[in-house]
Symmetry: C2
Subunit: 192 residues, 2 copies
């Protein structure tokens, strides 16, 4: 389990054994059951998440309807907006599957960053990378039709379509479940 985290970190910086044990001493690892809600709308939280195994989902409830805006799977992390700005959360986070993740809070971040300046560098690299990726994803979303977005997802994260219920996938694509069904039927028809 720990190795998954250290393998990930090693993509950015190299760690000494001392640094590794400093991280382990923080006791970050959590195992969470499918369906567990990690964060609720209106709640204040200081927890950052990083998924080691499994899948978590971010969603809003708008006019009584769930609107899923993101899935985080292996090697993906999430700092909820409410953590950065210490405001009540606007959205929910729940586990799509049984999930193993790390839970950190900003205090730990500050502590680690002060002790080991290279973490500061890693955090910058990681944020910059995620920002670039996020902007790409946003651009792709804006410039595509729902059908194209579904086909893109089929290319880029085919496993997600298997792991996640259709109605959550639909709202992730910005459409209703019925439209996703229809759209898939349309694609099948075109192929034949």
């Amino acid at each position: 389990m720990h190795n998954i985290l250290f393998d990930f970190i090693s993509k950015y910086i190299s760690l000494t054994e001392g640094e590794k044990s400093a991280i382990l001493s923080l006791d970050l690892f959590r195992s969470v059951e499918k369906g567990t809600i990690l964060l609720k709308e209106g709640q204040k939280s200081q927890d950052d998440y990083f998924v080691l195994k499994g899948c978590i989902r971010k969603y809003y409830i708008i006019n009584g309807e769930e609107k899923t805006t993101a899935f985080f799977t292996e090697m993906e992390g999430l700092t909820p907006y409410c953590v950065k700005y210490n405001t009540p959360s606007e959205y929910f986070i729940s586990c799509v599957e049984d999930t193993i993740l790390t839970v950190a809070n900003p205090d730990m971040g500050v502590e680690i960053n002060t002790k080991f300046p290279k973490f500061e560098i890693m955090c910058r690299m990681l944020s910059e990378e995620l920002l670039a990726k996020q902007r790409m994803d946003f651009d792709e979303f804006k410039t595509s039709s729902p059908e194209q977005r579904y086909l893109n997802l089929l290319q880029s994260r085919p496993e997600l379509i298997q792991r996640v219920p259709q109605h959550q996938l639909a709202s992730y694509l910005g459409i209703k479940p019925q439209s996703l069904s229809r759209l898939r039927a349309r694609i099948l028809e075109k192929k034949s």
Copy 2:
């Protein structure tokens, strides 16, 4: 002009006079005419932009059609994807208005970050902030209809609607210019 940049930086870290002159010695400032294309599709570039005054636009050309995905105005910065990954650019960047901006490259960043570690911290803070904002914007886009997105933009960046041609705004909202016209007419009708 310099003060705009230093005021911005001072939101994150405080600078000594020595640090300020180190920045000024890099000769970052550029004045660019409306219509100038700063980056073309297919081109490799090492330039980061930060807008001090004016407005720049990022757009793709897909099937011969311009698809605008972002506008950057005062106090907003952009590191093109192709800079981070040293690949040919997938999009264009051009000036919507006469614009004053800073142009930096990663080497300067490395130089400054090594000399003044607090820049590293500022870069992390800035990236994290932009990432959080970007995710909020994406969520809002996904969870809204085109009409709602237009109304949101009217709230959040009213000046942009004045500064930018309608057809560019339309594609920024993910629709065709004709649909934007119609949608605006519809809103006016509702009000009365």
